[in-house]
Symmetry: C2
Subunit: 148 residues, 2 copies
Amino acid sequence: MVKKQTIEKILRFTPKFDKNGLIPVVAQDARAGQVLMAAYMNRRALDLTIETGYAVYFSRTRQKLWKKGEESGHTQKVEQILVDCDQDCLVLKVTVEGGQCHAGYQSCFYRALKKGSSKKLEFIAKKAYNPEKVYKKGKYPRHGRVSA
Amino acid sequence: MVKKQTIEKILRFTPKFDKNGLIPVVAQDARAGQVLMAAYMNRRALDLTIETGYAVYFSRTRQKLWKKGEESGHTQKVEQILVDCDQDCLVLKVTVEGGQCHAGYQSCFYRALKKGSSKKLEFIAKKAYNPEKVYKKGKYPRHGRVSA
């Protein structure tokens, strides 16, 4: 095991996967800076992401690899992969094709807590596309989110 | 339990904490858009964050609440709290006071994977402050990171 203080200084990419073999990943629009979604990758998903240049995640719900946009066409072209001090979280700077949230919004973070409230949200975005038209078979998508 | 499709549409803030009582949180610079760090909150940390207007996290290593900047002075003033479709991840838009990574950088994400490599990192930032001067008692800080 590499020491914490070493992990922070080295230039060897040693991503730390948790006991389930997963690492949290934040996808951020490379141009706009908007945080688009948060999800997880396993080793294989990360390797495929690096190899193909397109984001591949691991769906916890479905327990399988999932190429972002495989159904919707709303892919994420990876421009840069950032790693944090502990190497246990990644940020993907991505160029996106279409809205990134399966609910129809550009970002999964389309609601914010109302000022002065601890319970009420407000929409801060409008839908970028119609998910019912994009996702075929009338099947509600089961991905595109942290709990995916 | 609220249905998934309902969770996505409602304007009631119902953050989903995992089996350890935690929710992942991404802190993003409200002005620059830079992702600063990723950490966790429990219910109490979230309540305190909303109540005080300053980010309070839960340290997994130390199993205690931790006000960001309590030792370094590098606090996070919360401008907006965003929640994702599933309400199981938060983005905090923050105004920051000083470098946010305990290793001395503005952001914990100060390294990126080198283009064309799957193993080599490169620094993409310079230190914003000297952590040895900021953290007292010569004690190396054990927070400011996802694994905190």
